[in-house]
Each structure stands twice: as structure tokens, then as C-alpha cells.
Symmetry: C2
Subunit: 313 residues, 2 copies
């Protein structure tokens, strides 16, 4: 039971209709790790600058995340993102991006990180994802995320990286873009033909869809009335999803099966829904396991229906 | 057990990446009625011109739909729509609209249509919807559809019409537009404050969401790889939904309850998914009750997950 995530560690300045915050701890690896920490032991691999203090390390450490592989780049500054959301919170507007130390990131994994049972390759250059994947000692399950930038500019390397993992976790628009196929079911099948046996298509407020050889599963978004800051929702989903898959590992080391994948979709959705209830990492930091289980029950109630005796005439 | 639908009867000329068809039988009332006909007795109220032949009547009659209230306007022509879909079938492009007899439509309901137990006010002028509603003898359950045109140009009458029905069935974008509220859960609550106790938000390929006083339910879209013609999907959904609600009526005349509403969401989704598998009404015309029940089982399988013993730590 151990999960390594490689990705960005960032400071985010975010404005939404609910307020504005400066330089909150964020980044894909951070949101992922905090979400996953409720289910398993997580190691974070990513670069930070001198502006990353003990206080920031503590946010991760308090949730039991292992921070030994956070790489401090002397004289550098941490990745910075500034963005805002208008009245329609489904669309993020980027105002400023400073890659800083993330621009020259060359992941260095400790022995412990390399030997984790599960590996999540966050949204970094596909070639780096491949190198990290190759350096690991055959995790039981490896997954990756990506983005439109790499689909447009580094497609070949991305397709190679996808061929080397068990699972992709992408936005549905990215699944379509990558395959040049607007029909999601067809697009997902094409991705599976590239190698992965599991395709997860995140659909924002509409929820998420799971494609495997044995079938299709979908879970709706949680109908929140107050979304305060959508930043990190996708990473929290991935963290809940992979974290649960690793944490629910049966004593007999059973393979990741359909039933576990579906439960993981629900846990991922739950973590994503909590993440957006407050700015940055605030909500997940004060989240409790009981709240997660309650939300799982909510997701069950939201999706249940009886099949009546045949009524059609 | 009887359901009256008031709406458009049309000829549709449609081009999609899968082919092109001229002057197929269509219109909201037609797609609605055919879908509902699998569950209950349906009466169609709508205007047609001299170009509407016995052959067209037969399409409805073959499915048991009662066509007595189809109004023939001598010398007139039937509503005509020409449109096409590009590679991304989620967006309809309108090339031509000829309202013809539909432009001067003044619904005239027979005694039988007025006394139906359920009433669906298809997408017509809100003031006409109000008049039809007022002329009926208190149906057990009345629902309406609408569109952006009326939301923009006839908002006040539409809000009055909404206040006089039990249920609205709208696209999620229309729910947001009508309330000027991008958050769907809030928007749905605002609609319920206008009168209806049930709000159904159709979400296209993402499925549909149900808001009631007692909770939230969502069902995903069926993951079809071949969508040949999306025209009429929303009307087929509404027909399956209302048709099932009417048809499943308990002998004791029980109110439309949460359990029945959820099942109706699944039947609506099933009918919509069949409708888009072929051009116009072709697929629904050859549909069988067994196929519907099989698809219901598919929807169950697509949405089921176990809740595991508490794993969070």
C-alpha cells in the first residue's frame, strides 16, 4: 500500500465570485496527495523554490503525506499560477503563469518512491512521464494525466507514455482531442487500443465516466449550490480515485477489478466535490473520514433507481 | 391512464455524417408521442397541412397513438425544418425553418384530450401553453418544455406558464438561462420556487438530472458509439419520462412519487438513446418493449456501485 505522485507544486492566486486569495498552496501533486492521503501512504515528487516554507510542508505532513522527495531548488521560485473564474465557474481564466523551478523539472525519485505499488504521473511533459515510469520498479498500477498543451505539441511522446500505463485520467474534451473523435465512447475505445485498460473521462460538473474492457460506468457531479473555488477539482478526483484503489488493496494483492474501480470513481468524485467547497486546500485539510463516507452514501442515493416489473406494452 | 401532448408536427430534412434524409416525419409532439406510446394511451394535438398524408398518420397509429386531435389546415403546409450536424453531433445547425401552419396554431382540444390524466405542453408559445393548461380538467400531472426563444422574448408569460405546471423538462442551459443562474442546483431550486415540484434538466450526451423537494437524482447518457441523427432526442426523453409516469399509475391512483420519477428518468433516457440510433422516427418505430427493458438493465449496470466498508483513515 503506497502511492507515488509526480507533478506540480504551486502557489495559486485565485479570484472567484466568492472572494480572492493570494499565493495559496496548490498544484496538481498537492491536490492529488491531500485527496489520496485519506486512503493510503502517499509520496510527493515535485520541485519547489526558496519561497516554499516549513508551513507549506506542514500542510502535507499533517495529512501524513511523505514529503522527502520534494526537491528544493536553491535560489529558485515555486511554480506560480494566477487565475480567475467568472459567474460561470466552469471556466478557468488564466491571468499569469510563472513556471519558475517547474520549467526545468527533472524528477528524481528516491528508492521508496520508485518502489511504490501505485504511480500517478501528473500533468508534466510526456517524455518526463516516460522516464519516471521507466525508473519505477513495475508498480502494480500506473496512471497518467495530461493536458491540451501536450496533446497539441508533443502528441507522439504522449501516445508513447499512454502506451506504458494501465490507466489514463483525462478531461473528456482531452479524450476527444487526443483521438480526434467527438464521440466519447469511440474515443475511449481508441485510447484503450493504445494500451491502457482503464480510461477515466472527467466531465466537470457532469461527473465522470469510466471505460474498461468489461463495461461502462458513470457517476454524476455532486450538486453543490456553493462552489467557492474549482481549482484542483480534477487533481482531487484523481487523488481520491488512485488513493482509494491503492488503499483498498486486498490482502491477497488482487488485481484492480471493476468493483474497486467503480468505488474509486465515487471516492474520487467525493474528494473533488469537497475540494471545491472552499479556496485552495482549505476544505480538504479539515475534511474527516466520516464526511467522506457520508458523501459516498449521498452519491449512492443520487444514482439509485428500482427496476420495475416490465410495464412496456 | 391517458396522456395528451400538444406541440409541433413537422417534416425534417436532416444531414449528419451518416447520411441525409428529406422530409422525414418529425416534430416535438411526434417524437414525444411515439416514445410515450410504449407505456400509455397518447393523444396528439397539433396542426398539419395538406402535405400530411395517411402514410404519416399511420406511423403514429401503428404505435396506438390517437390522432383525432391532429388539426388539418386546408390549403396549408406542415411545419418544415432543415438542419445538419457536423462531426460533433452535439450541436444542431438550423439551415431553414418554415413555420407554415404551426405559425398560426391555436390548439383545439377534444373532450377526450382535455380530460387526460397527464398533460405535456410541448415547446410552443407560453401563452398558448397557459390556455391549453386552463382548458384541461385538472390533469393529475402537467409538464412543459420550452426553448431559448421564449426565454428571451416571452419570459413573463413563460414564468406564468411554469407556475401552472407540476414539472418542467428543459435543457440544462435553458434552466440556467431562465434563472440567470449558472449553478444548476441553485437554478433548479429557483425554478421550483416558481411552482413546479419537479425539475428535469436534460444534459444531452451527459444524461439528465432530476430535482425534487426530496432530493437529487442523475442518470448518465447511454454511451452509444453510433449516433446517426440526434434530432428529437429531447422529445423522446420527455415522451418516455411522462409516458412511463402515466403508464405506471398504481391502481390506487397514487401520486407521482420519487421512485416512479427515477424510473421515469431511466425510461426517458432509454427512449432518447434509441431515438438517435437512426434517422427520424425509424428506430423507435421498430423498437420493442423487450429492447426497452434490456436497455433499462444496461442503465442499472452503468450506474451501480457497492459501498465498501469504511476504508478512509
Amino acid at each position: 500500500m503506497s502511492l507515488t505522485v509526480v507533478g506540480s507544486i504551486a502557489f495559486d492566486s485565485v479570484r472567484t465570485p466568492f472572494g480572492e486569495r493570494e499565493r495559496m498552496l496548490g498544484g496538481s501533486a498537492v491536490h492529488f496527495a491531500l485527496a489520496a492521503s485519506f486512503f493510503t501512504e502517499v509520496r510527493v515528487v515535485g520541485p519547489v523554490g526558496d519561497d516554499f516554507t516549513d508551513e507549506h510542508v506542514a500542510v502535507l505532513a499533517e495529512r501524513g503525506v511523505i514529503t522527502d522527495d520534494i526537491e528544493r531548488v536553491p535560489g529558485g521560485e515555486t511554480f506560480f499560477w494566477r487565475g480567475h473564474y467568472e459567474y460561470d465557474m466552469n471556466v478557468a481564466h488564466t491571468d499569469e503563469t510563472e513556471l519558475n523551478v517547474f520549467g526545468g523539472f527533472e524528477p528524481k525519485l528516491s528508492e521508496e518512491s520508485r518502489s511504490a505499488e501505485m504511480l500517478f504521473l501528473g500533468n508534466i511533459q510526456p517524455q518526463l512521464q516516460r522516464e519516471v515510469r521507466a525508473s519505477c520498479d513495475g508498480p502494480r498500477f500506473a496512471a497518467l494525466d495530461s493536458m491540451n498543451l501536450w496533446i497539441e505539441n508533443d502528441r507522439e511522446a504522449l501516445i508513447a507514455a499512454i502506451g506504458e500505463v494501465d490507466c489514463v485520467v483525462l478531461n473528456d474534451a482531452e479524450v476527444r482531442m487526443l483521438t480526434d473523435q467527438p464521440n466519447l465512447a469511440r474515443a475511449a475505445r481508441q485510447l484503450m487500443e493504445m494500451g491502457p485498460r482503464v480510461v477515466v473521462a472527467k466531465q466537470g460538473e457532469y461527473g465522470a465516466a469510466l471505460f474498461t474492457e468489461s463495461g461502462f460506468f458513470a457517476i454524476p457531479g455532486y450538486p453543490l449550490e456553493d462552489v467557492r473555488d474549482p481549482t484542483g477539482a480534477g487533481d482531487s478526483f484523481a487523488g481520491g480515485f488512485l488513493g482509494y484503489l491503492d488503499g483498498c488493496d486486498r490482502a491477497d494483492g488482487a488485481a484492480v477489478d471493476e468493483s474497486a474501480l467503480r468505488q474509486a470513481m465515487a471516492y474520487g468524485s467525493a474528494l473533488a466535490s469537497f475540494n471545491v467547497e472552499d479556496f485552495g486546500t482549505d476544505r480538504v485539510r479539515r475534511l474527516t473520514p466520516d464526511e467522506i463516507e457520508e458523501r459516498l452514501q449521498d452519491f449512492r442515493r443520487m444514482t439509485q433507481f428500482d427496476v420495475a416489473p416490465a410495464e412496456a406494452k
